[in-house]
């Protein structure tokens, strides 16, 4: 009896918090089909904002910029970060701790400070703001996340695997590519995905280093919100929401399928 009540209250609580998190988004999606420009009033169904959005060249070019930056910066960050993790793991504890504390600094410090500090650097050395400066900034804030996702995999790895590979005739380089790399690959992929999504999503740092010509989508969205009303944003949000939802569902389904396979394999065994 009381147990039932408990689970009812707990479900109600979860429901309320979820509602708090999703209602604004749902309202926004609903209003993306609102004929009126006003945010409040409802005056009939339309898809014209979606049409506007697709024809809006500045949005399309910002989207392209965002993708270019995300791909290049996350690939470079993954390479740098993976190499760094391998190097850091091979260090003695003292230097390892020192470097790790230093690696946490950009993760834990406010993005605005990193933004303005990089802005000062580029201004000081007279580097014009462009996609290049945005990419450099994104690599800088992404590398620590790659390191942090690869390092635990290295730590978990049986330290004798590398020696076992040497023992079986691998040169150190072969031992790295044939044994170590496959072992830490999940960490590298996680790191890459984190870097990629953070890069897609970043506003606070890009804002300071993008200038007029290299606007990414979030920077453009910000300038759009400064104009009082712009229903295209609703349409954009709706699209992004649906895309993200689809991606999450797909990856999750994939996870579940893989798990089931593993279980089946386990049972066969």
């Amino acid at each position: 009896m009381t147990k039932k009540q408990n689970s009812l209250t707990s479900n109600l609580y979860i429901f309320i918090v979820m509602a708090f998190m999703y209602l604004p988004i749902l309202v926004m999606i609903a209003y993306s089909f609102n004929n009126s420009k006003s945010r409040g009033a409802w005056s009939g169904f339309t898809t014209k904002w979606y049409a506007d959005l697709i024809q809006n060249e500045s949005i399309l070019s910002a989207l392209l910029n965002t993708l270019i930056v995300a791909v290049i910066s996350s690939v470079i960050a993954t390479l740098l970060g993976t190499a760094a993790a391998v190097g850091i793991q091979a260090m003695k504890k003292r230097s390892r701790d020192l470097i790790m504390n230093f690696t946490y600094l950009p993760v834990m410090s406010p993005e605005i400070v990193m933004g303005v500090s990089l802005m000062l650097l580029f201004v000081m050395f007279k580097v014009d703001f462009s996609l290049f400066t945005v990419i450099v900034a994104h690599i800088t804030f992404n590398v620590p996340y790659v390191i942090l996702s690869v390092l635990p995999k290295l730590r978990q790895m049986d330290k004798y695997l590398f020696e076992a590979a040497l023992d079986l005739g691998c040169t150190p380089l072969q031992a790295f590519t044939k044994v170590m790399l496959p072992e830490i690959m999940p960490g590298i992929i996680t790191g890459f995905l984190i870097a990629f999504t953070f890069s897609l999503d970043d506003f606070n740092i890009s804002y300071f280093v993008s200038g007029e010509r290299a606007q990414t989508l979030p920077v453009l969205i910000y300038s759009m919100t400064r104009k009082r009303v712009s229903p295209e944003i609703n349409a954009l949000s709706a699209i992004i929401f649906v895309v993200v939802l689809a991606v999450l569902i797909l990856t999750n389904l994939n996870d579940i399928r893989r798990e089931n396979q593993l279980q089946k394999g386990g049972r066969r065994g």
Binding site: Y160, E163, A164, L166, L168, G169, A175, K178, E183
Partner: protein
């Protein structure tokens, strides 16, 4: 004896951060021999193995393989393979791919490769397991994969680093016999590291007992067991009664208040010595008939035998006695030794004695952990 030495260690010294792990070690291993390095944690046995594998560079001394110095040969160019302590199987590969790994690296032709893997898996009893993922295997099966993965390369020498440490008792016994069978069948030299004296005695042609980076004794299992050179070896090889004694003259020793004939000589006259009596060597008789007699103060059933502690009246000594017949606590018994049951050893210095105690303690605590190979 013909000259068929496969591996020679000459004056090997290893120090990590100033701490000496191996101290001027000399060891020869003959071709097709099964040699075990036995000792407590931190005695340097794993380090010795890793020097031969090429994972540790000696600070001093030379390693010879087939008469050639191999100090500077990297591990991947040595004709040596290792079965690692916790197997170190590659989790991203299945059983077949794990075994295939070394052959693939050495670019052995496909047909030959398949044939060898098939034979090897059959030999370790894993035919039909080719496509299993290694983390789906039991400990014993993983162990067999590790052995197959190393042996399939036909190494001249196989190094085994406490390979059975993670298995339960029953499986360990089975694998001991299995390993010995494989070694004899293939005629490959095995160098085996363990801290388990029973394992060492069961499998080896020769046992090397080590302590603090030094070799204490090298010999056949029977030699080591019956004629330990010092109290450390005696105690490490099996539970023993070790008491102070005086060598009155050759072949006569006094201990526990009795003078008894023995088979040892060469200690001089009236020399202080250690006397070692194996608990299973006592013969139990009526109190009046014994060389010693005393009261049973405890009796513990150990499965095959009872372990009695017997206290002689008015003496501090307690004798540990193994017997298959129980004698209840409180009963009086007599004890008899024949001369060949009495083993005489040079007295250990007090420092050595302290070391022995701490080494044995550390070993019983750490059990299967070897921390002597950290760089």
């Amino acid at each position: 004896m013909e000259n068929n030495t496969l591996i020679s260690l000459r004056n090997i010294t290893v120090a990590f951060d100033g701490e000496v792990v191996l101290d001027h070690l000399n060891l020869d291993i003959k071709d097709k021999e099964f040699v075990t390095l036995l000792g407590p944690s931190g005695c340097g046995k794993t380090t010795t193995l890793r020097i031969i594998g090429g994972f540790v560079e000696p600070s001093e001394g030379d390693v010879f393989f087939d008469g050639k110095k191999i100090n500077d040969v990297p591990p991947y160019k040595r004709h040596v393979n290792t079965v690692f302590q916790r197997y170190a199987l590659f989790p991203h590969l299945n059983v077949y791919e794990n075994v295939e790994f070394g052959l693939k690296i050495s670019r052995l032709p496909d047909a030959e490769r398949k044939k060898r893997i098939k034979e090897m898996l059959a030999m370790v009893g894993l035919s039909g397991f080719e496509l299993r993922r290694v983390n789906q295997l039991s400990g014993g099966q993983q162990q067999r994969v590790a052995i197959a993965r190393a042996l399939v390369n036909h190494p001249r020498l196989l190094l085994l680093d406490e390979p059975l440490g993670a298995l339960d008792l029953k499986l360990r016994k089975e694998m001991q016999i299995e390993l010995k069978r494989i070694q004899q069948q293939l005629g490959i030299t095995f160098l085996y590291v363990t801290h388990d004296q029973e394992e060492a005695l069961t499998m080896s042609d020769r046992v090397v007992v080590m302590k603090n980076g030094q070799i204490q004794q090298i010999g056949t299992p029977i030699d080591i067991y019956n004629e330990p050179v010092n109290a450390f070896v005696a105690d490490f090889i099996g539970e023993s009664n070790i008491v102070d004694g005086v060598m009155i003259r050759d072949y006569l020793v006094e201990f526990g208040g009795r003078q008894l004939p023995c088979l040892d000589g060469g200690f001089g006259t009236n020399a202080r010595v250690d006397v070692v009596i194996r608990p299973e060597d006592w013969e139990i008789c009526k109190p009046a008939d014994g060389q010693f007699h005393g009261t049973v103060i405890s009796s513990v059933f150990k499965g095959v035998h009872y372990e009695l502690m017997v206290q002689a009246p008015g003496e501090e000594e307690e004798w540990m006695v193994h017997t298959i017949e129980n004698h209840p606590v409180g009963s009086e018994i007599g004890l008899i030794l024949t001369p060949d049951d009495i083993h005489i050893m040079h007295k250990m210095s007090p420092e050595e004695e302290a070391e022995l105690l701490s080494a044995l303690e550390a070993d019983s605590i750490l059990n299967d952990e070897d921390e002597d190979d950290e760089e």
